[in-house]
Amino acid sequence: MDKPLTPEKKNTVIEDALQTYPIATMPRDITADVLRRIQTIPAPRPFRLTWSDVALSLVISLCIGAVWFSLQHLPPLVVAQIRKESILFYQHLLVNARWLIPMLSFSLAGFLAALTIPYLRQELTKKSA
């Protein structure tokens, strides 16, 4: 290289190198390996709605509807009584059982964390294998 390349020439040389960057040759064909691996994957269960699903959803929606209907049609005195009792209950909790709400929150968090243990164990086994 006897003289410096112009900026345009440099661009051209770089583009040439980029376009001729060779695609690596595969050491072996992986098709058979992939097929072997996908054969061990259980086929996804097709979506199927059974009569018991329909009946269960009907019962749940009827229950929700009944609760909502009852709440809407309760006498005002009963509604006021329920509200008063619930406020008293909440205050009772705040005064006499301050530990209850944090304990419930931590228990829920602990339970959710525990749910991940089987998955983590599975991953660890996979990695060590």
Binding site: M1, P4, L5, K10, N11, T12, V13, I14, E15, D16, A17, L18, Q19, T20, Y21, P22, I23, A24, T25, M26, P27, R28, D29, I30, T31, D33, V34, L35, R37, I38, Q39, I41, A43, P44
Partner: protein
């Protein structure tokens, strides 16, 4: 998407393993190459390519054909690269999108044999320089020049803004330009 490939995808989505095998055979080289350029390890790249196809098989029912099959496949492979190189995603995001201009893409024709020799030597030197670039630049270069994706397709596959893709490629070329200048200096001091 070519019709034949579209048919293969349709069959594979219905659980036809032979059709999927044909897709693997067709695309494996490019997925492997992408993994190899990023990971720089043959065994790891082979393993990643297999994993990418296994994931593609399980996710195939969700492939609706909004993007090209190969772009979708490279997205899966890139996500697997992110898992193996935790810094890769961050380094791509950190590129920003402050690109000012792009290097023009031009065709080369070395008609002079002497210059042809010089260019092949220079080419090898630059290919070596590409191998020594950071992993984020190697990924972008591989997707653009070897897997032949457009800037928009790369942005889609990597889930990055278009400007970041252009900036990344621009900076990769800047590094190659510096490598080229050091090659020139070397050739002047050792003629």
């Amino acid at each position: 998407m070519p019709d034949a490939e579209h048919l293969l995808i349709q069959r594979a989505r219905k659980g036809d393993q032979e059709a999927f095998a044909a897709l693997v055979t067709e695309h494996q080289r490019y997925v492997y190459n992408l993994a190899l350029r990023v990971l720089k390890n043959e065994e790891e790249a082979l393993d990643l390519a297999q994993e990418a196809f296994v994931r593609a098989w399980t996710a195939l029912p969700n492939f609706r054909g909004q993007s090209q099959f190969r772009t979708w496949l490279y997205r899966i492979a890139t996500n697997l690269c992110y898992n193996r190189l935790p810094g890769l995603r961050r380094s791509l995001n950190d590129l920003g999108d402050d690109v000012i201009s792009e290097l023009p893409e031009t065709d080369l024709a070395f008609d002079n044999p002497a210059r042809g020799f010089e260019s092949s030597e220079l080419r090898s030197y630059l290919h070596q320089a590409m191998d020594e670039l950071d992993e984020n630049y190697r990924l972008l270069i591989s997707l653009r020049y070897q897997n032949e994706l457009s800037y928009e397709e790369i942005a889609g596959a990597l889930n990055l803004p278009l400007g970041t893709v252009k900036t990344g490629l621009f900076r990769a070329k800047e590094q190659l330009r510096r490598a080229l200048e050091s090659y020139q200096e070397l050739s002047w001091t050792n003629p």
